[in-house]
């Protein structure tokens, strides 16, 4: 009896701590961003939207960093989706060698991206090619494509081969079969993968640290500098907006594509 109570107590307490830890930091930052004062404290001193105003109207460098991150993530995700989807279609239902290839293609998901960043930097140096948006994009594409491959492969495995056979037997071209039979089934998988890819690219610092050309900064790096060098409350306001955007996007994607299913 005591055994059971102690287990429930400990497990329950740890679970509560775990859940709180998952959300508390974001909540703290958001609340601290509404401070009326200059210092970043929690609980905040007074309530004011001044830092959000300062962020949106008086911070061209933060806004331009935001747009650069969006452009980068969107481009990398678009190309990565193309690469990942075609690879998933090609490698599904093949023999054993395809599993090895799939494993290789998905390695950027587990390899630290700082290793990738360093390696690609050295590649560009070797080719005497300077750093630019292109070098940054290359690294981010290498990071994004595996996400789409991962989720699309899983989705494609759900497609019943009998459908493909019947479709073909009934005279449909491969393109028609793809468009009307395969695509609807794997679309949630593709979208989930693209969503994760976009968020990861937007958030990624290591690749950008090594591969950006110094003229422009992506948002996470800009925020990092603000936090370390001036601790401007605008960093908290930017964080608040990012958290809100992530929340909305995740809710939307959950509705549209059921992304949580693809993480298990």
């Amino acid at each position: 009896m005591v055994d059971r109570i102690s287990f429930r107590l400990v497990a329950g307490l740890l679970a509560a701590i775990g859940v709180i830890m998952l959300v508390a930091p974001s909540v703290v930052v958001v609340l601290a961003s509404f401070t009326a004062g200059y210092a970043l404290r929690f609980p905040p001193a007074g309530f004011s939207l001044r830092w959000y105003q300062a962020l949106l109207f008086n911070s061209p460098e933060i806004v331009s960093a935001f747009w650069l991150s969006v452009k980068l993530a969107a481009s990398a995700t678009a190309i990565g989706t193309l690469l990942g989807t075609t690879a998933a279609l090609a490698l599904a239902r093949q023999r054993g060698w395809a599993r090895v290839v799939e494993g290789l293609f998905m390695s950027p998901l587990t390899i630290p991206s700082l290793a990738l960043g360093l390696g690609i930097l050295m590649l560009f140096n070797l080719a005497s090619a300077g750093l630019s948006f292109g070098s940054l994009l290359a690294g981010h594409i290498a990071l994004c494509a595996p996400f789409v491959l991962f989720t699309t492969s899983a989705s494609y495995a759900q497609v019943d081969p009998a459908w493909l056979d019947s479709s073909h037997a009934l005279g449909a071209s491969a393109w028609f079969t793809f468009r009307r039979v395969v695509l609807p089934t794997i679309l949630p998988g593709i979208l989930s993968g693209a969503f994760f890819a976009f968020m990861n690219s937007f958030d990624n610092v290591a690749l950008s640290l090594f591969l950006s050309d110094g003229r422009s900064e992506v948002l996470p790096i800009r925020l990092w500098h603000i936090i370390e060098d001036s601790l401007d409350v605008r960093a908290a306001a930017a964080s608040g907006l990012l958290i809100a955007a992530t929340l909305l996007a995740t809710l939307l994607m959950e509705r549209v594509a059921g992304v949580s299913k693809h993480l298990r």
Binding site: G37, A78, L164, G214, R215, E228
Partner: protein, 352 residues
């Protein structure tokens, strides 16, 4: 199991459709206009004051809003050296030490003097003879304390070692000019000089129990004051005042060993695509209005333009530029060759 069948035509159609989708954001990203001018500044109060005064003034004068990147002088030299053919910056803010290094590496080009008429308003010694750089300011450093939490202000750097200051002293890494010039000031105070820095390193070792945190750059040092992680440090006047404006109760006091002085220059990078625009940037930085604004509250960055008077807070420290020549300075020619070694030694010393 029937594998997926595709004819060549279908493959082409699929790839074209997807490529079109991918090309849209990519196209807009690559086609966006390149930024007209990229300048550097130092992290912290420098960046704030430049964004507040210099960038708007430059935009008014030329219609161009530059991109501003905060980078310590040493890092700027590294970045320029790593990409000499296509430098990431067009005009850079330098401290004397890294400037000399940059000159020897051939990283700068002469300014387009036609675009910098304000050079005439500088004392001759503030303009480099070869036109490679113009001094834009001088900064003073001394002892900074949080007046609310520190009751007994240390009179000199040697007082930092007192046990009552345990865990409250802030340090800054030697890849910043502040860190290096402080080490030199310490060495000189303890009987050494630029060539004999051991006394300074011994002092740091003894100081370690009192060290609360180590910052990566002077801006970060200011942040540590803001969050209460440290209460005492050697820091620049202009950063102190900027923090006071944010409500951090700091005060600058003159150490028994005297005020320290650091001068900064602006240079145009070699191989920049916009040398004239870069030179205009320097001209605006030297203009009376910008230098006057930067010399006022709360930045107190000492002007180099003869036409700008020393304002109130500056007057408390020195009446004019001539007096400042007597402050503790650093002979960079002696420091530069061994700087990397000092940086490494310092990092190893302070690592927990």
């Amino acid at each position: 199991m029937t594998p997926f069948r595709m004819t060549r035509r279908d493959t082409m159609r699929l790839l074209t459709a997807a490529a079109a989708t991918g090309a849209l954001p990519l196209g807009s990203a690559l086609a966006s206009e390149p930024l007209e001018l990229t300048a550097t500044t130092f992290p912290g109060a420098w960046e704030e004051s430049h964004r507040r005064f210099l960038l708007p003034a430059f935009q008014k004068a030329t219609g161009v809003l530059p991109a501003l990147s905060a980078s310590q002088a040493v890092d700027t030299v590294t970045k320029l050296n790593a990409a000499q053919a296509n430098p990431p910056f067009d005009v850079v803010l330098m401290d004397e030490g890294p400037y000399m290094q940059g000159v020897s590496l051939g990283l700068f080009r002469p300014m387009v003097t036609a675009k910098v008429p304000n050079l005439e308003n500088l004392p001759a010694r503030f303009v480099q003879a070869n036109g490679l750089g113009a001094y834009v300011s001088a900064q003073v450093f001394g002892i900074v304390t949080n007046t609310e939490t520190v009751k007994k202000v240390p009179a000199g750097y040697e007082d930092f070692l007192k046990p009552e200051y345990k865990g409250r002293i802030g340090l800054v890494g030697l890849d910043s000019t502040l860190g290096t010039v402080w080490m030199v000031a310490l060495a000189k105070m303890l009987g050494g000089d630029e060539d004999h820095m051991d006394p300074a390193f011994d002092y740091i070792e003894k100081l370690l129990p009192n060290v609360g945190a180590v910052a990566a750059n002077p801006g970060a040092l200011g942040t540590l004051f803001q969050t209460g992680q440290i209460d005492i440090a050697c820091h620049y006047l202009n950063n102190v005042e900027a923090l006071k404006e944010k409500g951090v109760p700091l005060a600058l006091s003159k150490p028994t060993s005297g005020w320290g002085l650091v001068r900064s220059l602006m240079c145009v990078t070699k191989n920049t695509k916009v040398p004239e625009l870069a030179s205009s940037y320097i001209n605006v930085a030297l203009s009376v209005e910008v230098q006057q604004a930067m010399a006022g509250t709360p930045y107190f960055i000492a002007p180099t333009n003869k036409q700008v008077a020393f304002g109130s807070a500056m007057a408390a420290i020195a009446k004019n530029a001539g007096e400042m020549d007597n402050f503790v300075q650093t002979d960079w020619a002696k420091i530069n060759p061994r700087r990397a070694e000092y940086i490494d030694r310092f990092n190893r010393l302070v690592k927990k």
